[in-house]
């Protein structure tokens, strides 16, 4: 779960409210049971969930902002802060852990000078850990954007990261 943020960051850009309407009403029927999937769709669009997005969602669905904030901070996939151009998802599941995922993580952190949940200053990479993508037989597994890198060894980290702008 995300730690509680003291202050939600403001959106750096104007939100496309027509797009949000399409997501909330057309795709998900304005139904509050679909809140989690609405938030996922908003995150796919903006690469994170901008604060005005939460407020708008509350207005459209009638669910109090506090509840929506609760959902956005309870579930680990949501980010309330802008993320980098390339999302590094490192699997820290048991099978990957046993095959040395921690050492791969250390190499990544050393290489990029960021920790879990952080973004590089130039906005190039965000590092997030996840507990099991389901490729357990090929661990350690690191996903960068849509590419899944299997059997990754610590000495291959630099080369792999260099492939992404």
């Amino acid at each position: 779960m995300n730690t509680v943020h003291q202050e939600l960051s403001a959106a750096p850009e104007e939100l496309d409210y027509l797009e949000l309407d399409r997501i909330i009403e057309d795709e998900y029927g304005g139904d509050k049971e679909n809140l989690i999937m609405m938030l996922q769709a908003i995150q796919r669009r903006y690469n994170y969930i901008p604060r005005p997005g939460l407020t708008y969602l509350s207005e459209k669905t009638g669910v109090p902002l506090s509840r929506i904030y609760g959902i956005a901070t309870f579930y680990a996939t949501f980010s309330l802060e802008p993320r980098g151009r390339n999302l590094i998802t490192i699997c820290l599941g048991t099978a990957c852990h046993v095959r040395g995922a921690k050492r791969v993580q250390e190499q990544i952190e050393q290489n990029l000078h960021i920790g879990d949940g952080q973004t590089t200053e130039d906005g190039r990479f965000t590092l997030e850990s996840v507990r099991c993508i389901g490729c357990c037989s090929l661990g350690p597994v690191v996903k960068i954007n849509e590419d899944v890198h299997a059997r990754l060894a610590p000495d291959q980290v630099a080369k792999t990261l260099n492939r992404y702008e």
């Binding site: 809140l35 040395g100 099991c132 389901g134």
Partner: protein
């Protein structure tokens, strides 16, 4: 076309089984489940399609995972009257060679995993074996002979790797939907429930609750009833459900349809972990096809039975694998469990009777209905019937998914099928049951898998994750790893779990960082016992299990950390260092070249030296050395 009867299914089945088993030209099946894709299968498929575009005599298709993930990407090639050969490690650059090998009938052993003697599924025994008259290849093992496959009986995994998961017709071609359509026409709900009860099927997600009794209870409660499939598969290291969803999504839909008809429900939900986007994609496609064929929606197969299925995705919360948390999440809320004084079969989703079953449980249902309860109950042990899929991962040679009859021993799975520990290292423990389970040492390897056996030694079978560990795994670090995971995943409602896990984690962290003291082990045992007794839900009550079993079976490691301030496995960095063993070092210089800190120096053919001040203990040299000359002290 709309399916209205078993006759309609038979027409499709005849046509498509011919396509599956008796292709006109050459057929190339590329394993395209997530593990195959991670190993490079997507580029292999793209290459194959480029070289053999649709419309000519070579048909290139995708299939699901055939289970032997260690050797991915796997590509099967078959042709009329010729053997079916599965090639291993077929990355894009190797595809052309592999294809040529098959066409020119060279059958180079180095490229091949094995040949298929009999591709039929468990539902096709009344058909002739399409490979019966084909002359087998000499010197190439049959797949069913190689240890990885020899002990397996595929029920839940019956179609994975054999059909294109995006084709409902291929599913029907191998016996799919016959169970459901026949039941709809001929059986009463009570009869279906009686069959499932008699089969002895128990929940495959870890709980092991008798499925028939669950369905029977749910049916009794008034109100709008819901059928829910738990596809959250949160246990790290377990991916059995992913394989079924990606390789054979219709098997789950058919199981849900049978449950819906038996219980009396018109609405189903599939709650899928969001880390499985490919599974979601395949399910969306499967649901659309089932609807187009009249097998989902209103007036299914021309009857009065209506059933819709909706897909809901999770958002990264392990606790949402718990039934009440899952249902809260389905309602668009935070996934906090509730106390189960009233069970979810009475009041669950939307406060209505809800039947929740795991993916693998549903996948077994059509087979049980077609082959009969007695057939199913004839496999397994007294209280654990049928088969179970395990994900065999970690420090084992043959990683992958295996489906074995209950009662198979851990030793058979890990050493016969798994091939034992790689790099000549020694077995240390096997972790089963995910974060709720425990670590089982070598002395118990002859235990049989099943719902009850493994609990006798403090672990559990769980959803099927089986993580093998060797001498390089620190059991204290592992216990800390699990607690760290559970601390992050705890919903925070109840004090024993929220505060208790946090405190246990602090004690373990102290131990791993050299600050352990006398009395710490006893403190962990006391806290663990309290958390087990008083937590609100299963996450809390089972959280101490990994810690308590490692203390029970590996106490000496805890004592080494606390008293000697040493980590014998070489994991807890403050408690060990690497050294060059002068007797073993050949001066090959590989470690020095790979060291990211340039901490190793030496001339070629001379014993090397490791500078401890520069060493960051990344382990690259330890893994790289072929002579075991880098040692842990």
């Amino acid at each position: 076309m709309k399916i209205l009867s078993v006759k309609d299914l038979e027409k499709i089945s005849k046509k498509f089984s011919k396509k599956l088993y008796d292709p006109e030209g050459v057929k190339v099946n590329v394993g395209m489940a997530s593990c195959g894709i991670a190993a490079g299968a997507k580029t292999t498929l793209e290459r194959a399609l480029r070289e053999h575009p649709a419309g000519n005599s070579v048909e290139v298709r995708q299939t699901g995972c055939i289970g032997f993930c260690e050797e991915e990407p796997l590509v099967e090639i078959l042709a009329k009257g010729k053997p079916r050969v599965v090639y291993k490690r077929v990355t894009e650059d190797k595809f052309a060679d592999v294809f040529r090998d098959y066409l020119e009938e060279k059958f180079n052993k180095k490229l091949i995993l094995g040949q298929m003697r009999d591709p039929r599924s468990v539902l096709e025994e009344d058909r002739e074996n399409p490979q019966e008259k084909v002359k087998p290849l000499k010197g190439i093992p049959f797949l069913d002979e190689i240890p990885f496959y020899a002990h397996q009986v595929k029920i839940a995994l019956r179609n994975c790797g054999y059909i294109d998961p995006d084709s409902i017709e291929e599913y029907i071609g191998r016996g799919g939907y016959f169970a459901f359509v026949r039941i709809l026409a001929e059986m009463k709900p009570e009869e279906i429930i009686a069959t499932i009860k008699k089969s002895g099927l128990r929940g495959r997600g870890g709980g092991g609750f008798p499925t028939g009794i669950k369905w029977e209870s749910c049916r009794k409660h008034p109100g709008e009833r819901y059928i829910i499939c738990n596809a959250d598969e949160g246990d790290p290291g377990a991916y059995m459900d992913r394989s079924v969803l990606e390789g054979d999504p219709h098997s789950v839909l058919e199981g849900m349809l049978i449950a819906a008809y038996a219980i009396g429900s018109a609405q189903g939900f599939l709650y899928v972990r969001n880390e499985y986007p490919l599974a979601v994609k395949r399910l969306v496609s499967a649901i659309k096809q089932a609807e187009a064929f009249g097998l989902l929606g209103d007036h299914i197969a021309g009857s009065n039975f209506d059933f819709q299925v909706k897909i809901s995705t999770g958002a990264g919360a392990f606790v949402c694998g718990e039934s009440t948390a899952l249902m809260a999440s389905l309602e668009g809320k935070v996934g906090r469990p509730r106390a189960k004084y009233v069970h979810t079969i009475e009041k669950g989703f939307r406060d209505s009777p809800s039947n929740l079953n795991n993916v693998e449980t549903y996948a077994n249902v059509p087979v049980i209905m077609l082959k009969g309860a007695d057939w199913y109950a004839g496999m397994g042990t007294k209280y654990s019937k049928g088969t179970k899929v395990f994900s065999l991962v970690g420090k084992v040679k043959n990683t992958g998914l295996v489906e074995v009859p209950m009662g198979t021993t851990l030793r058979e799975i890990i050493f016969d099928m798994g091939g034992g520990i790689p790099k000549k290292r020694k077995f240390k423990a096997v972790q089963t049951g995910g974060p709720s389970g425990g670590c089982i040492p070598e002395v118990f390897l002859d235990l049989q898998v099943g719902f009850d056996e493994l609990t006798k030694v403090g672990s559990m079978m769980g959803s099927g994750g089986m993580i093998v560990m060797d001498q390089d795994t620190c059991m204290v670090d592992l216990a800390r790893y699990f607690l760290d995971f559970l601390k992050g995943e705890s919903c925070g409602q109840c004090t024993p779990c929220r505060e208790g896990i946090k405190q246990m984690l602090e004690v373990l962290t102290d131990i791993c960082e050299g600050r352990g003291k006398e009395g710490d082990i006893e403190l962990l045992e006391e806290m663990g016992s309290m958390i087990q007794k008083f937590s609100l839900c299963g996450l809390g009550t089972s959280a101490p299990n990994p810690v308590l079993t490692t203390i029970l079976y590996f106490r000496d490691e805890y004592e080494a950390h606390i008293q000697d301030k040493k980590c014998p496995a070489g994991v807890c960095k403050p408690l060990f260092h690497y050294e060059v063993d002068a007797k073993a070092c050949t001066g090959c210089h590989v470690c020095a070249l790979k060291c990211p800190q340039e901490a190793i120096t030496g001339d070629k053919k001379e014993v090397h030296t490791l500078d401890r001040d520069k060493c960051i203990k990344c382990g690259i040299c330890y893994e790289a050395c072929k002579f075991d000359a880098i040692v842990v002290r």
